[in-house]
Amino acid sequence: MIKTNKKIPKNIILSLEDVSISYGTFEAVKNVFCNFKRGDITSLIGPSGCGKSTVLRALNRMNDLIPNCSLKGTVLFDGTNIYDKRVDPVEVRRRIGMVFQQPNPFPKSIYENIAFGARINGFTGNMDELVESSLRKAAVWSECKDKLNDSGYSLSGGQQQRLCIARTIAIEPEIILMDEPCSALDPISTLKIEETMHELKKNYTIIIVTHNMQQALRVSDMTAFFNAIEYEDGDGGKVGYLAEFDSTKKIFNSPKEKTTQEYISGKFG
């Protein structure tokens, strides 16, 4: 195993240590230190261009798929640096699943959407049971149970997104990353997804990027506020940084930073 010697508390599942991410020569976010607790829902908030989605994608190496994207620093998952050369990104993504901004079911049946991930992960148990339990956990079973053989596209946007969550649950990850999962959805679907997240909290650690501060307040235990500042050399480019990281209550009620206060109250963003 590729373990570090540093002492990390057992309840910390993911730990960012001095992480800076760049696209080519452009630095998107720098010097992030952050610990994500096991079993918590942590939300990442901040204005556009502050690098919160970039940080989220870095947590399961989805950034590998973007040309020129590079990361400095370490991301420790259960004490292992997932950016170590010997680490297989495919294995990382099996343990840390991801739900995207746009619902993106596969052009297959609802049943196959769930079964696909499980099968490639070597699942040998009862597939019917797995499909049902995953759909149940994602709170979309009642809408899907009579049309498991229909295309995933036959569902509404909100249902599709919950199908995508079910698909991620089916591979039994330890962490679920969600990149603005409700931004393409109506308020009722959003509410349902949030309920789903509360259910999932019992078994999974969730990290969610959201533009909706009320959503962060409703669902998360911890909140990380990212902000962007202009470069010191003043050519107009901006670089993101982690401005404040605390319990959601503190961030929304008594933030330490002035910018957090201003963002929360809607003065910019």
Partner: protein, 297 residues
């Protein structure tokens, strides 16, 4: 102040009318050859169609009584295009997958894209000469010289660029979200391509492949150097290693004969070739149209 009403005599309106009619006229001229060629062949060749045509061997020119049929050439064309497809489709689809999925826009992929475009513009006779030099004159294929196999190879060179390009473009049309979805649940690149991206792009790739086949089936020049021609029935596997007839070369040979019977046979072969290429093209259109409607599900 000018009136707001449309004035015919105004120089800009006169010019506008003139150029509109000019472009309509040119468009009409452009389509004329197609209409003439197709109708001429349909009339001339259609009259020669009978059941013997499909079952008999062609008789050697000179015997002015009966020209026979085009069975060996018809089967030959099928075999040669099949061989070409067997070579060109896997290589082309594989290359297209590399360009669209694996390459990161580096010098190597740029070089391949450039090369594919050049290959698409290479005159078909060059493909024939190349295979002639590489395979026919060296007798490298088990000592055989002109053969159906060599003909298939020459045609596969012509099919390759079409297949690579359409695979590349078809795969690029697959939204990235779908790739991320698959990779995000821990699928490897290989599983993602095989199970998610390729099936999504299947129809556009199939359209390209069909167009490539249609182009190859009508080629004459590369076959003259490689498959040559044969008057005899194709009876077994070993015939692959000997001269093989094809519709295109049959037309080339018989249209130039001084005998009327052979000329008629050439017309009949033209008819069948045009009809099959036309229907393959229409088939690919239907396939493409079907793709467009299913994309918006």
């Amino acid at each position: 102040m000018n009136s707001l009403y449309y004035q015919k005599k105004l120089s800009r309106n006169v010019g506008d009318k003139f150029f509109t009619s000019l472009s309509v006229f040119c468009a009409f001229i452009a389509i004329l050859p197609l209409i003439f060629v197709v109708t001429y062949i349909l009339i001339k060749g259609g009259a020669q169609i009978n059941s013997d045509l499909f079952t008999l061997e062609p008789n050697p020119p000179g015997d002015d009584l009966d020209a026979g049929g085009i069975n060996p050439a018809l089967i030959g064309t099928l075999i040669i295009t099949t061989i070409a497809s067997i070579i060109a489709i896997p290589v082309g689809v594989g290359g297209g997958i590399y360009l669209a999925e694996y390459s990161k826009g580096g010098p190597f992929s740029k070089f391949i894209r450039f090369g594919v475009n050049v290959l698409a513009g290479v005159p078909s006779i060059i493909a024939g000469v190349f295979i002639y030099a590489l395979i026919v004159s060296t007798k490298i294929l088990f000592g055989s010289m002109y053969s159906g196999l060599a003909g298939g190879m020459a045609l596969s060179i012509l099919m390759l660029p079409t297949v690579i390009k359409t695979t590349d473009e078809g795969l690029k049309l697959v939204p990235n979200e779908l790739r991320y979805a698959s990779l995000g649940i821990g699928a490897s690149m290989y599983t993602t391509i095989l199970k998610i991206t390729l099936p999504s792009a299947f129809r556009s790739i199939a359209t390209g492949v069909v167009l490539g086949i249609a182009r190859a089936a009508g080629e004459t020049a590369p076959l003259i150097f490689t498959a040559l021609f044969s008057y005899y029935y194709i009876v077994g596997f070993e015939d692959l290693f000997y001269e093989m007839g094809s519709l295109a070369v049959l037309i080339y040979n018989f249209a130039l004969e001084p005998y009327d019977a052979q000329n008629k046979l050439a017309w009949a072969a033209s008819f069948i070739l045009v009809i099959s290429i036309l229907s393959v093209n229409i088939f690919s259109r239907i396939l493409a149209a079907f793709t467009e409607t299913t994309k918006r599900v």
